[in-house]
Structure formats: structure tokens, C-alpha cells
């Protein structure tokens, strides 16, 4: 059994498998299938200041190895969230990462203040992939200045004991440029990645399949994009921890993210097809680390970045998977 403890900034988690924002509500429904305190943490659906209806239906379209959603951040608002959802998570003894979303910087700041000092809040994930009301609907995470303004403001307003992670969109020309801007603004780490913007047209109605016209693509279809994003940001900013997500549905999928540089992973869309997926992924990841001879998860984080000689050297003798060691020996 590898030591699965991991660090996300100042936060220590007993294991690296979390839920993903927007894919597990606030954990209560999954609590019917397993004890949510067994997870590294529960990442809650992005919460905003006010109750929000979300978009009209249809909100979902299945796509090859994925799905599009256009929920539109339906939620009860921060006060109800704290009173009901956070209280429930605290009762379960679950560690909680609260995802926050806003239409302008002040809204993010207001949310961070509401969560200040709350004992049930382990970390804040800042969803900056929603449209910025002040810049004519442009998504914050597509603009380094807007991203940096939000992350800086949240970091200043939030409880210093709560790490602030920036959740970034892959729909940008240069992800590292955005990540650097967030790092300079004080981000304690990154959540990579949010959904990719996509669209499906219904060939029967000959109209967009979603009520919101476009939607976010998630599921295994986006996994290679997500692994690439984790790899690039880890390479550019090796000192900052990454929470990786995007199409993870098995322990080996999770291991790809870890090897690319993620210190923990979120299991998202897989939950829709398999409510037990987070626990299954945790068990499978544990076994995969053992098989490869890793004594701890920390040893595996970013392992794929090592140069080939270091990775496969028989002299190191420890980590290569038996098959890889055999291949190297021949």
C-alpha cells in the first residue's frame, strides 16, 4: 500500500481522489452509495451569491465518449449552501473544496468572505470559466488580466488557511500564459481543466440540441487535452500544485494525470455513469501505484517529466513498472 497522502498547497489530504465541481452536487446524493469522507475531498458545484435557476432545457447531449452540458450554474445561492450543504458535509466529516463562481470580481470576493474561517471549508476552487458580465460576456479564464484580477482579489479576501486554486479553461491559445498570470496574482495552485466549449445540432429538428445552444464538453473524450494541460502547466510552474480533471474513469486514467504532474485528481462525468466511480478510481489508483513500486503518491507526481534515463535506469531500481524495466533490460 503506497502512502496516498497528498498536498494541495497548505492543505494535506489523506488521498488524492476528489469529486469534480458540477458532477456531484454537494455530495449528499453520492452519500447514498459510499461514505463521502473516504474521498480526498468533495468538490462542490460552483456556488454564486444568489439563488440561480440555470438555463432552460434541454441541458444535455451525449457525445462520443463524452457529453455536452449547459446547466448554467443552477444553485441555491451561498447562504442556503452554507446553511444546508456545508453543514451536511461537516456532519459527514468530509473535507470540502468549495467551488465559487461570479459574474464580476466583487461577487467572487463576497463569496470568499462568506467562506472565511468556516471550519468545513478546506480549500476554494475559483471557477473563472464563467462569462464576465463586465467585459461583455467574455469568459474570465480566457483573459489573463481578468483572471489575474479575480484570483488576486479572492486570494486577498479569503481565509489565508484556505488555499485558493484557479480553475482554468483549455479553450485558450496559451494556457501557460494564463496560469502564470494567476500564479503572479497569488494562486496557490490550479484546477485543470474545465470543460471545452462545444455544440451539437439535432438533425431531426435541424436546430441546436441544447437550450443554451453551446455547452461544455466533458468525459473521456477530453482526457488527452486535460493531460496535456496538466503537463504544460507543471512544466512551466513546477512549484505550484495541480488538481487534475477531465475524463477520468479508471485508476490508470488518474495515474496519467499524476504522472503528468497533478497532486490530486477529480472524478467528474464518470459519476453520471457510475455513482461509485470516485471510490473505484481510488482503489484502482492505489493498486496501480503498488504495481509500479511507488512507495508514495508523492513520488509519482510529475514522474513522466523525468528524462528517460532517470525514468528507466536499472540503477534506480525502484519505480519502473515491471514491464518497462524488462523492456529496458533487453
Amino acid at each position: 500500500m503506497a502512502d496516498l497522502t497528498t498536498q494541495l498547497g497548505s492543505l494535506t489530504l489523506p488521498n488524492p481522489v476528489l469529486t469534480a465541481s458540477g458532477c456531484s452536487a454537494a455530495g449528499r446524493e453520492l452519500g447514498q452509495f459510499f461514505d463521502v469522507s473516504r474521498l480526498g475531498a468533495v468538490v462542490t458545484k460552483s456556488i454564486m451569491t444568489r439563488p440561480r435557476s440555470g438555463r432552460p432545457t434541454p441541458r444535455m447531449a451525449e457525445t462520443p465518449s463524452g457529453m455536452l452540458n449547459s446547466i448554467g450554474l443552477q444553485g441555491p445561492g451561498i447562504d442556503s449552501f452554507i446553511e444546508n450543504d456545508l453543514a451536511w458535509l461537516a456532519e459527514q466529516g468530509a473535507r470540502t473544496v468549495v467551488s465559487i463562481a461570479g459574474g464580476h470580481t466583487d461577487e467572487y470576493v463576497a463569496l470568499a468572505r462568506k467562506l472565511y474561517g468556516h471550519p468545513a471549508v478546506s480549500m476554494i476552487e475559483v471557477n473563472i470559466s464563467c462569462p464576465n458580465v463586465e467585459s461583455r460576456g467574455q469568459v474570465f479564464a480566457c483573459d489573463p488580466i481578468a483572471s489575474s484580477r479575480v484570483i488576486g482579489a479572492v486570494r486577498r479576501a479569503a481565509d489565508p488557511a484556505q488555499p485558493v486554486f484557479a480553475k482554468l479553461s483549455p479553450d485558450v491559445t496559451d494556457l501557460v500564459f494564463i496560469a502564470r498570470a494567476c500564479a503572479d496574482a497569488g494562486a496557490d495552485g490550479f484546477s485543470l481543466i474545465n470543460t471545452l466549449l462545444g455544440m451539437v445540432i439535432d438533425t431531426d429538428t435541424m436546430a441546436p440540441a441544447l437550450g443554451g445552444i453551446t455547452g461544455g464538453l466533458s468525459g473521456p473524450a477530453i482526457r488527452p487535452v486535460a493531460v496535456r494541460c496538466v503537463w504544460q502547466v507543471k512544466k512551466a510552474l513546477p512549484h505550484l500544485p495541480i488538481l487534475g480533471m477531465g475524463g477520468i474513469r479508471s485508476g490508470l486514467d488518474a495515474l496519467q494525470f499524476i504522472l503528468a504532474g497533478a497532486s490530486a485528481v477529480s472524478v467528474g462525468t464518470a459519476v453520471f455513469g457510475d455513482p461509485n466511480a470516485p471510490i473505484r478510481v481510488l482503489d484502482e489508483l492505489d493498486a496501480a501505484l503498488d504495481e509500479r513500486g511507488f512507495a508514495s503518491l508523492a513520488d509519482a507526481v510529475g514522474y513522466a517529466h523525468r528524462d528517460p534515463a532517470d525514468r528507466l535506469s536499472p540503477a534506480s531500481g525502484r519505480y519502473p513498472h515491471p514491464a518497462a524495466a524488462e523492456a529496458a533490460a533487453q
Binding site: 452509495f33 444568489r50 440561480r52 435557476s53 444535455m60 457529453m67 448554467g72 443552477q74 453520471f272
Partner: protein, 285 residues
Amino acid sequence: MSPVQETAEILSVQRAGDYYHFTVVAPGIAEHAKPGHFVAVGVGGENTAMILRRAFALYGATPSGQFAGTVQFVVAEHGAGTKWIVQRQAGESLDIVGPLGTPFPVPSGRSPAVLVGGGYGTAPLIPLAQQLLDAGSPVEILLGAATASRLFGELVAKRMVGAVTVLTDDGSAGQQGLVTDALPAAIERIKAEVVYACGPMGMLRAVGDIAREHAIHAQVAVEESMACGIGVCMTCVLPVRGDDGRTRFLRSCVDGPVFDAARIRWSDVGKLPPDLVGADAMGGH
């Protein structure tokens, strides 16, 4: 009652007109299943590109018996996922989550009821009819479909209640017409106090309208497109009026699939009415 995930061996698959009637071994689901509950079935096998489950109303549940607990459901083939399911054979297994949703509310005492099924929407009404009959309630069953091969449950319904009323759009079985054409007379015939229905949205809305004209309740089971079936994805919402008179987007999978028809704002389905709770926060997004 919590839903469970089970690997369920298929005991039998039977053709029923255009539909497929599955009986699977799922003791954990069968134990707590009630009429109106549904199950979510994984499709495509391991590593499938079809990542979402397909939802089916329970047609029956036998908590114990010769083969441990079994549940039954009815599948209509209308896409790649349901096509995969109907190609399964006895002896193979399905990954099933259930029982899901909120079952039909049933009055504690005797209460005459009309049950209206459209297509394979009849499936959950059959165990409901049995429950009502067991409570001593008179039951009328109306079945409708586009055409004869898309009717479901006529024989078993007849066995339960004697006579059923059948209507098809093309007149290929029973009378020609919409199943709701026969509803007012059925309500009056047995002085029904409640109508139960499952079928297409247009039919459910018409059932609700007719029930209201007769000043009785209609409990309808909707079929909304859903990704998870357990309440986490928020895709299957409908605009539903609450006790406080305000309308919210409620999840059909956990707050439904059975709703009081009078609470659903049918003309606002697929829209964002401005008075919906939280609609005012949608500006700019």
C-alpha cells in the same frame, strides 16, 4: 431507502410488440421498489463510448422467489444505447442502479382511479394498478399508442381489471383517436378521485387538463432526458410550482419522475420563465 448499484443477470428477454420486456436478478433493487420508481441501466459494456445510463420505469418487482429478487422493465429501441440493451440475452448481465425517483403517491384508503398509459408508459401503471386493486379501489385502464405494435400491457391489464379501453392514432387497435379522448367518460364512469398517467409529455399535459376540469388530481410520471438519474447532474429539470406558489426547476430524477400535473408549468417546459426562482440571476450568463 437508498438506491443501490447491482450487476444484474438477465433472466429473460421477451418481445412485446415493438418492445422488449426484461426480467433481471437485482435483489437490492427489488427489495425497496415501488410503482413509479425507475432504474438506470449502463450501456455498451466496459470502456464504452456511451457514458450515460438509460432510464426505464419499473414494470414489476418481486422481492423474493425462486431466483432471489427480480425486477422487470420495458425497453423501446430508439438509439444506439437502447439498441445495445435489446441485443442482450438471458444469462448476460446488466449494470443497474435503482430504485430511483419518487414513486406514485397512493391514497391510504379506497380511491377510484383511472390509469392512462401511452406506449410503453403503461409499464409502471401495471404494478400501480395491482397496488390500487389490493387496497379495494376501482380501477379503469386506458391504453393508447400511435399504432397497434406500440401498445403495451393490454393483456396483463385485461387480466387485472377485466376490460381496458384501447385507442390508437391510426385505428389499428381499439378505437381510433387519442387515449385522452376516452378519459372524461372513464372518470365519470367510476367517479374517479385521481388519475395516474405515464407517457409522452403532450399526453400528460392533456391528462392534467382533463383532471383539472373534473376537479381531481392527476399524478403523472414524466420522461425527461437525464444524464445521471441520481440527482447530481441537474440536466432533467422541469418548471414546477411549489407549496409556496413559486416555481423552481426541479429534477425529474429525484423530485419526480411522478409529479402532480397541476404543479408542472407545461407551457414553460424548455423555457426560462422570468418569475422562476433564480431567473433574475441569469442576466449576462
